[in-house]
Each structure stands twice: as structure tokens, then as C-alpha cells.
Symmetry: C2
């Protein structure tokens, strides 16, 4: 790893919306130098970021070498691997191999990819420790909403007793619209799909899988669990009726899809309307119950490529601080 | 300063509710050793924390030496001065002298005392820099609600454009009760006084002075201002009518006492009922508007001796991390 005067060198593995967001943001940080960018077709070595971003947006190939992503991770000397390939919760590949190989080669890893952490949290944190490098994953939970580093650094003086989170913007949008406009689930889902808030196949979000992955990561990070997806008891929002929402509302509650990290559950729960966890629209929120600091709630945008890239940059900057 | 293997040594200057909270919490942290505690009557050197806390609660003197607080700060070799004397916004004393002398003697300072920072922010941050020590003050704004360190560390990847905060629990309690119960200001104030939520003389809170001090600290810390209390345009909540609250409510807003850090204003403002800043009761909240991370809102208990002590402990732990 370089000393604190040389720029921090990084590779970006995965060049979808988030990878492009990272490239866009680090363009303006002179202390950071991108040595390689890999997309599914190939690798751009020592890329001119402006040029590569323009090519990608124009649908042109970015590769200027015969290397693969794994070649970059294994053989190019650099400080940080930014792993931002799409999440695959069935085994975590290709992200898992990328992260594993990066750590084995003593490179720090910053990732937004839930797959590897859900599949092999203990193995990867152990690998990072053994190799004396950092594995940072603020962007895997809540996008730009700080939670992992908030708990680890800012709330270091308190013991965390539980974390309860509204961690999926698509679900929260659907539940908010259903409650406010008295519309049925199917109507709102269809509207959300039109607006790009829900995917064409919304299963991953609405059945609670995405939230469960975040619960697994937080449980392993802060409660010493070795949980995987199978350990979480998951109920989605796809069977919630208008009647249930209105009944809750009359009694002063909103229905939210809540992940409870200590319980390892994801399910629709009643949240008092005045409680800070009760955020609306696509917002995410998490309430952190502590012994001495009481309950701290944080809310913010849970998705968006620039917002997620911002969380990644905060992790990159911590790696930079730790080496100085 | 000791090396990372020896315990971190600290003095507690001020032994009211917060000082006692700090002593209570650090009792359980083996890496921290309290070398002196000063109250208004004298100094306990190398105190047995359990014994000193019991004496204080029983109304007995704690002093076992002829030293003063300033003697401790100047002459006893230790790592961190925890300055938790009461806030005095007219000149900042005695806290200002305590903090200044601590920094000049190359001791790190952790404080919950707004007075010195409002009176002499630039001088003190410069002194800390020149002497190579830390000046940390998470507990001055929002009690246990993390904001200073959240912005500095966790949101380091984003540029902060503005901070708007509901930063006084007494005001927020009064406004919440007025709106929910349709009671007048005087009725709710009197109730809050009975409950210990408002002081017998509530001026400092209800006229916005406390919120303005917090605005000054955040403006100086994050927007490079050299503001003092006189630079803030302050309107309190003591003239708010029931009519105004109900009118706002009908239109979908709550009235909150909002400190706007970029504007340097404190005034009752309309906050949309669904916005995360709209917290109820004695809660505090702050919305941090950033360039790339969007708007992040954090909420938590703004007061309480153990909660404030918890924020102080998180600052002490950062000092500890930074020396290792």
C-alpha cells in the first residue's frame, strides 16, 4: 500500500449505475487515482474517467486491454478494490470471488454488493483481518443513509441493543401511497413500476428478500451472529390489504416493512405515527436502540446511484485516513 | 501523552449531572483512568469513582486535596480534560479558561459546554491545532443525537450544503403538546416546569438562545464561519398562539423551532408533517442537506445526563483511537 503522500489507487469492478456514480464522484478528488475499471465486457486500464463515462453512456465498449476483472484484482498493484457488481443472493457470485481474491491479495475492499456479505460474512471479515486490510460496506445497507459507520464510529461509546429498520424504498413507497391514497397494492405497484421505483419483477423487494439481506449484514456486523439469509423469518408486503392500513391509521399507527436485526425478522409492523422511524415515500430509516444513548434514528435516501456512490466514497476516505 | 498500551488518563472538570454521568459510564471502561475530578468546591485526586459518586449523591464534599480545577489542568500529567461545567453564554467562563489552558498544556479536550465554543471557537480550534491535540464537542449539540462526528466522519464523502435542526427538547415538547392537546403556551410551559422538562426560568430555552448557540457551533465547525451569538437572528417560541399551530396543522404542517445553520437564524418554521425533521416530544432532530448524499436526518434524545455522557464517551474513544 502506498504512503500517505501518494494518491490512493483504486479499481472499480462493475460499471453499472453505481460504478458510474463512483467514477463521477472521484473525478473531483485529486487524492484518488482510478487504475482500472471493469464492466461485464472487459477492462479499461488507467482510464480517463471523463472519456470512459462518455463511452459507457453512449453504449460503446470501455475495454482497452485483454485483462479480466480478476486479473486486475490479482495482478495490478493498487490500494482499494471497489466491488459494485450486481447483488446475487444465491451464492454471491461474481462478487464473492472478487472480494475474496482482493482480500487475499492484501487489497482493501469497499463494496455496495450485499451478495458476498450475505453468503460469507465470517470468512470475508476473517480474511480482511488476517491480511491486515479493510472490508467496508456502508453502501450495502440504506444507500446514502449512514448506519454501518454511524454505529461503528460515531456511536462507539454506546452498546447497541437492537436495530429496527425501514430498509427498502420500494416497499416504503408502496405502503405510503396505499395508506395516503387509499389505493390497493396492485394499483400502487403498477404505478411504482411506471415510475421506475419498482422493478418489472418486484419479487426481490416486495417479498422482503432485500430487507432480509440487510438484516443479515447488520446482525453479523453488530451482534456477532453468523447468520445467512435462511436464518431470517421473512414476510413481505404483497398481501397487505387496504383495510389493514386504514385500521392501523385509525389507531395512530402506520404499517411499515420493518427488519428487526436482533430478532432476525422482516415483517409488516405497526409503527406509531409520531415515531421517527415512520418515514414516508422512498425514504429509508433505522432506529438504533442503545444502552446509554437511548434510541437514535437516522433517515435518508436508501437508493440512487450518486447517493450510493457517496456512501462508497465515505468508506474510501476512511481507508485513506486509516493509512495516514 | 501515553502510548496505546497504557490507559487513557482523564480529568473531569465539573461534577454536576453530566460529570457524574461521565464518571458512571467510564467506571466500566478498563482502558480509561480518571486522575482527578473537580467540582465547584474542590478536587478529588486519583478518585475511587464509586466512592466519589456516592459522596456527591449524598451531598458530602468530594475534595481530598488543596488543588483547584486549573491546577489539575495545568500541572497533573494526563491525556484528556473533560470540561463539563455549566454553559455560560456571556463570555464562556469558567469553561473558556479551562479549555484554553488545557489546550495550551497539550491536553486533548472533550466538552459538552457550549460557552467556550460560542465565545472563542476560532481561537480554541487554532490552539488545538497548534498544540497537536484534539478539541471534541459532539455533546454540545443535540446531546446523544450524533451530529458533529456524523458529519465529520461518517458523511466525509459529501459536501454539506445546509443543516436545519430542531435542537431544543424543551421547546419541542411545548410545541408538540400545544399542537396535540390544543393547550395554550402558558399552560404547557407550566406543565413542563412541573415535569422538570422546562427550567423555573425558561428564558434560555424558549427565547431560542440555546438553539442559537448550537447554530453558532455548527456554522463555525462546518461552514468556516467565525460567528458568535450576536450574528444569529433569533425568534423564540414564547409568542406562538394556538391559532397559528392549528392553522398550520390544517395545511399539513407542524410548527417547530428550527435553527438554520447556513442562514444563521433561529425561528418557528413550518415543517411538513411527513418530514423526518418533524419529531415530537423532547426529541431533537437535524436534517443535513448534502450535495451527493441527499438529505440525511438524524433524531435522538437531546438531553439527559447519561445520554450526554454517552456522546462524551464517544469523543473520548475517538481520541483514544487517534493516538493508537
Amino acid at each position: 500500500m502506498g504512503n500517505s503522500l501518494s494518491p490512493l489507487t483504486l479499481s472499480i469492478i462493475g460499471f453499472g449505475a453505481i460504478g458510474q456514480g463512483v467514477a463521477t464522484i472521484v473525478q473531483n478528488v485529486p487524492q484518488i487515482k482510478v487504475v482500472a475499471i471493469a464492466d461485464s465486457k472487459g477492462v479499461a486500464l488507467m482510464p480517463d474517467l471523463k472519456d470512459v463515462l462518455a463511452r459507457k453512456r453512449g453504449g460503446q465498449p470501455i475495454a482497452n486491454s485483454n485483462l479480466t476483472a480478476l486479473d486486475v484484482i490479482r495482478t495490478i498493484d493498487h490500494d482499494v478494490v471497489v466491488e459494485v457488481t450486481p447483488t446475487n443472493i444465491h451464492g454471491g457470485e461474481p462478487g464473492l470471488t472478487h472480494v475474496r481474491e482482493a482480500l487475499k491479495n492484501k487489497r482493501n475492499v469497499v463494496t455496495s454488493n450485499k451478495g458476498p456479505l450475505v453468503a460469507a460474512f465470517d470468512e470475508l471479515t476473517q480474511l480482511a483481518y488476517t491480511n491486515g486490510v479493510a472490508l467496508r460496506y456502508e453502501a450495502t445497507v440504506g444507500g446514502a443513509m449512514p448506519i454501518v459507520n454511524l454505529i461503528r464510529d460515531t456511536l462507539a461509546g454506546a452498546r447497541v441493543l437492537d436495530i429496527r429498520g425501514v430498509l427498502n424504498g420500494t416497499c416504503n413507497y408502496i405502503l405510503t401511497r396505499m395508506a395516503e391514497e387509499a389505493l390497493d397494492y396492485d394499483q400502487v405497484l403498477s404505478e411504482a413500476q411506471d415510475m421506475g421505483i419498482a422493478e418489472a419483477d418486484p419479487t426481490y423487494d416486495v417479498t422482503g428478500i432485500d430487507t432480509a439481506c440487510k438484516v443479515v449484514i447488520l446482525a453479523n456486523a453488530f451482534f456477532g451472529r453468523s447468520a445467512t439469509f435462511a436464518d431470517v423469518d421473512v414476510t413481505g408486503i404483497d398481501r397487505i390489504t387496504q383495510d389493514a392500513l386504514q385500521l392501523a391509521r385509525q389507531r395512530g399507527f402506520a404499517v411499515k416493512l420493518v427488519g428487526d436485526v436482533q430478532e432476525l425478522t422482516v415483517s409488516p409492523k405497526l409503527v406509531p405515527i409520531g415515531h421517527p422511524l415512520n418515514v414516508s415515500g422512498t425514504l429509508n430509516a433505522a432506529s438504533i436502540l442503545t444502552d446509554t444513548a437511548g434510541e437514535i434514528t437516522v433517515a435518508g435516501k436508501g437508493a440512487g446511484s450518486i447517493e450510493t456512490a457517496s456512501a462508497i466514497l465515505s468508506d474510501i476516505l476512511s481507508v485513506m485516513r486509516d493509512r495516514s
